[in-house]
């Protein structure tokens, strides 16, 4: 199976509460860039779907990672190559020249060049939190979509059984490839995603795999090609533009109560929620 995984980097999501807004713009100075967590889960899923878990070094298929952005994104792409992806594509552009719709249209052009069987993408990137590119891409390609996947099982690499995490439960779909699947966090649980080559009983370690030092060195030699946005789409106009940002209104400072009795008293007389 040939799988394409779009990647983005984001300001350290575990310190998102430290971002500032300066002159109406979000400022992430001081926060380290990290791969978007949901995209990392998509890479891990792609690796799981193209291997037999008893030998994770041999790729039984191909995993291509693609990013849109400036040169610095090569680091993010190399990181994915080090964990096992085969090659990388970077479409040279900047974040402020993009909206979700343009990202989807660029990815469509990349998909048409590469003809993968599957696009695996994080359900959302955790800066914009828009949750849209996978769905837009599926429509532009005329492919089926399965969003918010919490588990995937391959049926002979022709179809996927996808459990979607929806409000109040799970919705199970079978999609025949090619398709677009967006992943949620439980996809990287021990039983989350499994290829046709891996024993049904196999349990992966929780989370995403890390690259060994040797693999990081080897990844430097893996192919990474740069493409120009203008070569992929003729119309780079944006459908949505962003204006000023602001911090959320601060919450009124809370208090610590000393006892359960005091808590109940406050909830009754002060908050009036009981």
């Amino acid at each position: 199976m040939k799988i394409l995984v779009p990647l983005k980097r984001v300001a350290d999501p575990d310190n998102a509460n430290k971002i500032k807004v300066i002159a109406g713009k979000v400022d992430t100075t001081g926060l380290e860039f990290k791969p978007n967590p949901f995209d990392e889960y998509a890479v891990e899923t792609a690796l799981r779907l193209t291997e037999n878990a008893t030998n994770t070094k041999a790729r039984l298929g191909e995993v291509i990672v693609v990013a849109l952005g400036p040169k610095e994104l090569d680091t993010t792409l190399r990181g994915a190559l080090a964990t096992g992806a085969d090659r990388a594509i970077r479409v040279d552009t900047t974040d402020d020249a993009l909206d979700g719709d343009l990202v989807a249209r660029v990815l469509k052009a990349v998909v048409e060049k590469e003809a993968p069987d599957l696009v695996l993408i994080g359900k959302q990137q955790v800066e914009g939190d828009s949750n849209q590119v996978g769905q837009l891409l599926a429509e532009y390609l005329g492919w089926p979509q399965a969003t918010f996947a919490g588990s995937i099982k391959s049926e002979a690499d022709k179809a996927l059984l996808v459990s979607r995490e929806v409000d109040g439960g799970t919705l199970n779909l079978k999609v025949t490839l090619p398709a677009v699947v967006s992943v949620d966090l439980r996809i990287v649980s021990p039983q989350g995603a499994k290829s046709m080559h891996t024993a049904a009983t196999h349990a992966y370690p929780e989370g995403v795999r890390f690259a060994a030092l040797m693999a990081i060195m080897a990844a430097k030699k893996k192919p990474l090609v740069e493409m120009k946005l203008a070569e992929l789409v003729g119309d780079a106009s944006l459908k949505v533009t962003y204006g000023t940002a602001e911090l959320p209104p601060p919450r009124k400072a809370g208090i610590k109560v000393k006892s359960v009795a005091e808590l109940v008293e406050k909830l009754k007389t002060e908050a009036k929620v009981l």
Partner: protein
């Protein structure tokens, strides 16, 4: 003048209450709006939404829409939208989030996702939306003639009936996407619970990993007493102490009840993203430095295994 199409969400033959948030959005935008109810059994459900002042309640009722498959629903929504609507809104539930981008792409429309408010100034409309897990708000404008919007349920209060009786009109079900031949609905598995839905509950009692195997044993009496929905942190779900559908946060549900009780939850950013909008937040945790206390209105540093039963007892004694 705006003309908005509100997409209703059906669940077990009834219009989900979350739809009322999209009606509120349509009223705020002004002009006129209609409500599209689609799904098998939509005809019967349509009467539930005739009292909100919609110009029309449109019904697409067909056996092919029995189970939700985006590739079957989106074409009908897009076809109806093309009949003179400039805005399409759906509530940002998992249904709305799956559906809205596909509809936007069909309409060649810009999509404003998961918005928390709309500001209308003449012909200009500015949408405000949470970003960075709720740690910043951005404003955006849609540059296309047609706007597709998903509205956050917790930020748009449920519309109240305004009386009258909107006429109900049947609309044609459009041909499904060619891709629908490659999607097969297998099943929808839902946790059975007598409790209110997490997104609609006035009180949410949420538990973390600290509850261990006693998750339900400790929280159920409190939730029962308060008529609350039960939520959980990611850690509690991952450890298997609570089912995944209870998760509150960036993965899982976004809630904003009148009262949110965080029991043994440390307060990771991804969890705060799903509950920071709650009116009153109570945290009970034995670690006084846990980040949850930074957003809590009332914090109690205590062992939850003694504090929660004590809270149940105190509530029974003083409130019930």
């Amino acid at each position: 003048m705006a003309n908005t199409l509100v997409i209703a969400e059906l669940h077990e033959g009834k219009v989900r209450k979350s739809t009322l948030s999209s009606i509120t959005f349509a009223r705020q935008v002004g002009g006129t709006f209609s409500i599209l109810v689609l799904g098998a059994g939509a005809k019967a459900a349509a009467s539930e939404v005739v009292v909100f002042g919609a110009a029309k309640v449109l019904v697409a009722d067909d056996a092919s829409l029995k189970d939700y498959v985006c590739e079957r629903f989106a074409p009908t929504i897009a076809a109806v939208a093309k009949g003179g609507f400039d805005t399409v809104v759906v509530t940002a539930s998992s249904y709305g989030k799956d559906l809205a981008p596909r509809v936007a792409a069909k309409l060649n429309a810009g999509y404003a996702p998961d918005i928390s408010s709309v500001h209308v100034d003449g012909n200009k409309r500015v949408y405000r939306r949470p970003m960075f897990a709720g740690n910043a708000y951005g404003t955006c404008e849609v540059q296309t003639p047609v706007h597709v919007v998903s509205a956050r349920q917790t930020e748009f209060t449920a519309a109240e009936p305004s009386g009258g009786a909107s006429p109900i009109e049947s609309v044609a079900v459009a041909a499904p996407d060619a891709a629908s031949a490659r999607v097969e609905f297998i099943s929808l598995e839902q946790g059975k619970s007598e409790r209110p839905d997490l997104g609609e509950a006035r009180v949410v009692v949420s538990g973390g990993r600290a509850l261990k195997e006693q998750f339900a044993q400790v929280l159920d009496p409190l939730a029962n007493l308060l008529g609350a929905a039960v939520g959980a942190s990611r850690a509690a779900c991952d450890a298997g102490f609570a089912p995944a559908e209870l998760q509150v946060g960036q993965t899982g549900r976004v809630v904003a009840p009148a009262l949110y009780l965080a029991i043994g939850i440390s307060g990771a950013i991804q969890h705060l993203a799903g509950m920071k909008g709650s009116k009153t937040i109570v945290a009970i945790n034995k670690d006084g430095d846990a980040p949850i206390f930074q957003v809590a209105d009332y914090g109690l540093v205590a062992d939850l295994f003694t504090a929660v039963p004590e809270l149940v007892g105190e509530l029974k004694r003083t409130v019930a």
